[in-house]
Amino acid sequence: MTEKERELLLLIEKEGRMSAEKLAKMLDLQLNEIKQMLHQLESRNVILGYSAIIDWTKAVGTEIVTAMIDVKVTPQRGRGFDEVAERIYRFNEVKACYLMSGTYDLSVVIEGRTMSEIANFVSEKLSTLESVISTTTHFRLKQYKHDGIIFVDEDGADPRIVVSP
């Protein structure tokens, strides 16, 4: 990974929609160099996709419920946690799944339209898996910061005086 590649990744991680022209100027590269770099990073699966960060609470009528579930499981001989993890992360409802150290094994993030949708998923799909020992469901009440983005409305006013030495 070159320094320029790293810089490019940091930039588009913050704002994926920046045009190649703008990126080229900012990184002091030619347009075709940037395009090639992006293409390569995509084909090497370093860049896996481009998505928007949306505050759904503001999109009227589209409220979603998010829960984080701590899951304790029995690891399988030969495949450890991977097999049960796969059976869980393949579900569409699952937005994220991590193997954790500490008091439980898997941390699973679920999104649904209602609380009961999530409750159903947990009681019918998740808990019934053979290697799942227990689950603890936490509902998310408010999102303050997600993926480095602060969701609390700050007034974007620039407090600086207009002209200064």
């Binding site: 940091l10 100027k25 900012m26 600086r160 207009v162 002209v163 200064s164 030495p165």
Partner: protein, 394 residues
């Protein structure tokens, strides 16, 4: 307001009567009378101070650390500055004898000049430069002698230009790289030529290195780190620019003990010490501020690249500024003076830039644009500048 009749003659010092209010002031008044402007006229970061630094200051308040510190500043802070200067710029200073924490680099400049300048001494001031230098020299009783630099020469200090201005009264020279307003930096070789001349004529150097960290293409070279220069350099720096801490008013001077002791006398009587809460914040910045700072520097560099290229595409010739966060394009192709350009751009396109002549005569024909603004603001500003320039250039 009632009009109280003045019953006594006004007595002002000659020194204060001699100096003019800053040229920036007039432009500030004009710009702040208008709405919806994009300001590229701001000489400070567009970041808020990183949170851990703010938090350290809050903590110091909670602990009730609200009394004076030592005159020279918290020893712990001076020690941290000492380690920082040596590891970053290869200039070693004894924290007990050679470093003073000041109320911004601004106070550092003032006490440095007052400690060295006698009435009538001539101080060479490399121009264009920060607006305070010449007035501070005058207030200290000295005579500022401008040494011009030009875009053709990448705003580097020319040794011949210094030589021409040397007289038996010349005592010191004021250098500032990376430079406000030009963004110019001096490389080791160029700086060494100036250093040789300075030694030959036994001058003191005031080196304002407050933008040292904001050097984008090469490592900053400190004047004090050059052979034979440490002894004769008073280095002025601070936290305002690189750590986004302008409002905290904390800076520092580093100098050989004879100079530091002299400066400390002035500082002790005029200031006692810098603000205690700000010193705790600065200490946190020194200890744990690198990552945030590097992120800000990377972002300024990207914006510099974007902005300078875009200015050129808009039809303004601009040298590549190696540091600080200013571009200083020539506006001669429009046939306007700096003042006219800045004023018309403000009124017609609502973009505030600073006319170059306020930074000294050498700045005429240029305007200072700060790119410490969001990418969104920069993009919009560039579009408006392009439209403006097109109107005047044909």
């Amino acid at each position: 307001m009632t009009n109280v009749k003045n019953t006594h003659d006004v007595h002002l010092s000659k020194a204060v009567e001699r100096i003019e209010p800053s040229g920036i002031r007039r432009f500030f008044d004009l710009a702040s009378s208008m709405d919806n402007i994009i300001s590229l006229g701001v000489g400070e970061p567009d970041y808020t101070t990183p949170w851990n630094v703010r938090e350290a200051s809050i903590h110091s308040l909670e602990k009730g650390l609200t009394s004076y510190t030592a005159n020279a500043g918290l020893l712990e802070l001076r020690e941290a500055i000492s380690v920082y200067m040596e590891s970053r710029f290869q200039t070693a200073y004894d924290p007990e004898e050679e470093i003073i924490v000041t109320v911004g680099a601004s106070e550092g400049l003032d006490i440095a000049l007052r400690a060295v300048v006698d009435p009538g001494d001539e101080i060479l001031v490399v121009e264009p430069c920060f607006v305070s230098y010449a007035p501070l020299v005058s207030l200290a009783g000295g005579v500022p002698i401008p040494v011009p630099t030009s875009m053709e020469n990448n705003f580097q200090v020319n040794v011949e230009a210094i030589k021409e201005r040397l007289t038996p009264k010349t005592k010191a020279i004021m250098l500032s790289f990376p430079n406000n307003p030009t963004g110019a930096v001096m490389g080791r070789e160029e700086l060494a030529k100036v250093a040789a001349l300075v030694q030959e004529h036994d001058l003191v150097v005031f080196s304002d290195e407050i933008y040292a960290e904001l050097s984008y293409d090469e490592e900053h070279v400190s004047t004090a780190a050059l052979d034979g220069m440490w002894e004769r350099t008073i280095l002025i720096s601070g936290f305002s620019k690189s750590f986004a801490m302008t409002g905290w008013r904390v800076g520092y001077v580093c100098a050989p003990a004879v100079y530091a002791r002299a400066m400390l006398k002035i500082h002790q009587y005029a200031m006692m010490c810098a603000s205690t809460m700000a010193q705790y914040a600065a200490l946190e910045a020194m200890k744990n501020g690198r990552a945030d700072m590097e992120e800000m520097v990377a972002s300024y560099r990207q914006r510099r690249n974007y902005f300078v290229k875009s200015l050129r595409e808009a039809g303004l010739s601009c040298h590549s500024p190696g540091g600080a966060f200013y571009a200083f394009p020539s506006i001669r192709s429009t046939g306007l003076t700096s003042e006219e350009f800045a004023e018309k751009l403000l009124i017609e396109q609502r973009v505030a830039v600073v006319p170059g002549h306020v930074f000294g005569d050498g700045g005429e024909g240029h305007v200072r644009c700060s790119y410490a603004a969001s990418m969104k603001q920069l993009e919009e500003a560039v579009d408006r500048i392009a439209a403006f320039v097109k109107n005047y250039q044909n």
